[in-house]
Symmetry: C3
C-alpha cells in the first residue's frame, strides 16, 4: 500500500475527525482515486455516519490503488487535537503504520499510528423517501437541543408546509418551540406532507457538535423513519442517520 | 386563576430566579395586585429568603385576584438559564400550568411547568434591632468570602464606629481583613454600637452569588443575632436572613 | 527571630510560590542577608527544586540574622492565590507565626500562617557535567509535553550538535518532534556530544507550569543522568532536577 496526501491547513482534517469521533471510536477509511470515505455504525447500532471528502480538497493526493485504512479514531482524534495554527498536514503510509506529519514553519511533528482491523459490518445507508427537508442554522439547532435537554432525553421534530416545531415532554413540564421560516434560524423548508418523529437527544447533540459555526444543517424527516442529518465541512460531506425513538 | 405578566427583558427574571434558587429548590410565589413575592426557608432552617418585585417592574401586569403559584424553583431556574439575548418573557397561567413564553424576533419558545403544592411553613422574618449597618461593594464582599474560605468554613463580621473587619480562624492560620470606609470597598457604615457575629461561609457565598455586578450589598448586624443581607436586582428586592454560628 | 520583607507587587511572590508548590507541599525557606532560598525533594525522591531570590528583588529587606522558616507550602500557595491587582506584600514574623500582609489602596488583609518543623533531609544538588544545553521557549516546551502525553507517560529528550528531538512511544503509536535551532522554538543549543534520556512527563509538566509566558527554559542533559531544568521569575532563579526514567 502506498499513498501520500497533503492538506495545507491541518485544522481542516482535525474538524473532520471530530465529526467522526463524535459517533464512533474506530473505523475504516477507504482511500480511493476519488477521495476518502468512511461509513460506520455507532456501537449501539442506533445511528450511522457516512463521511466523504473528495480528492480535490487536498493540495496533494497521490495514491496507487484504492485501499482500506483501519484506525482507532479516538487516538487519531487526540493527535489531531494538538494541531497548532498555520500547520500543514501530510498523511501517508510508512512501514505499515499511518504517518501524520504536522509541518510548521520551523518544526515538524511526526505521529505514527498503528493500523487496526475493524470488523466490517454491512453498513448500508437506510433508503427513505423523506417527506420534509429543513435547513436550519447550526447554532439555532444546537440551542434548541439544549433547551429540550432540560426537559427530557428525547426531542420531537415536526415539519409541515410552512412550519417546523421542536418539542419535548418531561416530568417537570414540557417545551414547544415554534419557528418562522425566515432565512435566519430556519433557512429553508420543503415539505410534501406532515412528518413527525421523536429522537434521542444525546445522539443528536453528538452529531451537531462539529458542524462549523455559521453553517447550515439539513434535516430530512419522515414520520417514524430514521432522521438524516447532513452538513458540510469545507468540501467534505458529513451525513448521519438516526433511528426514531419508539415509546414502548 | 388567571394572570398574565410580561417583562421586556427575560434576563431580568432569570437573575431574580437565580437569587432564589441559590437558597431554596421549591417555593410559592404570591402574585398580588402590588407585585410578586416569595418567602421561604432553606431546607436546613438556618436561613431564609424574602423576595419581592413590584408590579411596575413589568411592562404588562394583569391579574384577577391574588393567588399562590407553587413551583419547583430548580426546574424554573434551568429553564430561565436558556434565555437568549433580546428575548421578552410572558408569564401566564395555562390549563393549570405555568406558561413561560420566550419571545424572540423570529421564534417563540413555550415552556409549561407543573404547579406543585409547597408545604406552607410559618416563615416570618426575624425581628431584630440591628446595631450596625454596612454597605459593601458586592465584588469586594465576594472576594472577602473567598479569602476566608481558604482558612475556615466560618467567617466573623465585626462592625463598630468607623470600622468593619472580616476575620477567619483555621488550622492552618488566620485572616484579618481591615477596611476603610472610603466609598469604594465599604461604601457606608452606620453603627450605634459594636456588633460581632460568626456565620457559615457556604450560605453567605450562595447568598451573594446573584448580586448584580457593581451593586451594593447591605449587611445588618447585631451580636449573636441573625444577619440580614439585602441587595436589589433592578426594582426587585432580595433579602436573606442567616442565623449566627454558635461554637459548641 | 525577626525580619521584615516587602515586595511592591504581591503577584511576584505568588508566582514564585506556585513554582515551588508544583513539586513540594512543605518546605523550609532560608532567609539570609543575601536573600531567600529553599531546597527540597518531592515526596517520591525523584525530583528536587532549588529556589533562590536575591535580597535586591525586595523593596524592603530587613533581617537580624539568618534563619529558617518552615511552612506548609500548600497553605501558603492558597493564600497567595488570593492576590489582587495592585497589592503590595509585606512578609514578616509576628508572635511565632509568619505574617503575610496584602496592602491595597484602601484595605489590608493579614494572614498569619503557623510555622512548622520540616524534617531536614540532606538535599544536595546532583553534580553532573552535562553534555548538552538547550534553551527552549517555554510555551514551545509546554506544547511538546502535551503532544507526548497523548502517547505515553514518558518523554525522551535527545540533543546533539545542531539538533534537539523530542519523542514518545506508546501502545497507540509514537511521536517524533524535530526542531530547528532558529531563535523561536529552540533559542540556543550547545552540545559537546550527543545526549539522550527519558523522563517522567507528569513531573516535567509540573515543573514548567509556572514558567512565565515568553521566557526561556534551559534544559541541561547528559545520557542517563538527571535533567536540570531552570528558568527565571524576575530576579528569582528556579532550578529543578529530575532523575532519568530507566525501563525495567
Amino acid at each position: 500500500m502506498s499513498f501520500e496526501l497533503k492538506l495545507d491547513n491541518a485544522k481542516y482534517w482535525r474538524d473532520c475527525v471530530e465529526a467522526i469521533v463524535s459517533l464512533v471510536d474506530e473505523g475504516t477509511f477507504n482511500i480511493s482515486k476519488d477521495g476518502i470515505s468512511l461509513r460506520a455504525m455507532d456501537p449501539s447500532g442506533i445511528s450511522m455516519i457516512s463521511f466523504s471528502m473528495p480528492s480535490k480538497a487536498f493540495s496533494k493526493y497521490e495514491i496507487d490503488k484504492g485501499q482500506d485504512v483501519g484506525l482507532n479514531i479516538d487516538n487519531l482524534s487526540k493527535i489531531m487535537s494538538r494541531t497548532r495554527d498555520d500547520e500543514a498536514l501530510v498523511i501517508k503510509e510508512a512501514e505499515g503504520k499511518l504517518l501524520l506529519e504536522f509541518v510548521g514553519a520551523k518544526s515538524r511533528r511526526r505521529y505514527r499510528l498503528h493500523l487496526i482491523d475493524v470488523r466490517k459490518k454491512d453498513d448500508k445507508e437506510p433508503k427513505v423517501e423523506f417527506d420534509a427537508q429543513v435547513e436550519v442554522d447550526g447554532e439555532h439547532l444546537k440551542n434548541a437541543l439544549k433547551d429540550a435537554s432540560l426537559i427530557s432525553s428525547y426531542i420531537a421534530f415536526k415539519a409541515g408546509k410552512g412550519h417546523f416545531t421542536i418539542s419535548a415532554k418531561g416530568d417537570s413540564g414540557d417545551l414547544e418551540e415554534l419557528n418562522e421560516v425566515d432565512g435566519t434560524g430556519i433557512r429553508k423548508l420543503d415539505a410534501s406532507k406532515d412528518a413527525e418523529s421523536v429522537f434521542n437527544l444525546e445522539f443528536l447533540e453528538n452529531m451537531v457538535r462539529s458542524s462549523p459555526m455559521g453553517n447550515s444543517i439539513k434535516l430530512s424527516i419522515k414520520s417514524d423513519q430514521p432522521l438524516k442529518l447532513t452538513y458540510n465541512i469545507g468540501d467534505a460531506a458529513v451525513t448521519y442517520f438516526l433511528a426514531p425513538y419508539v415509546e414502548e
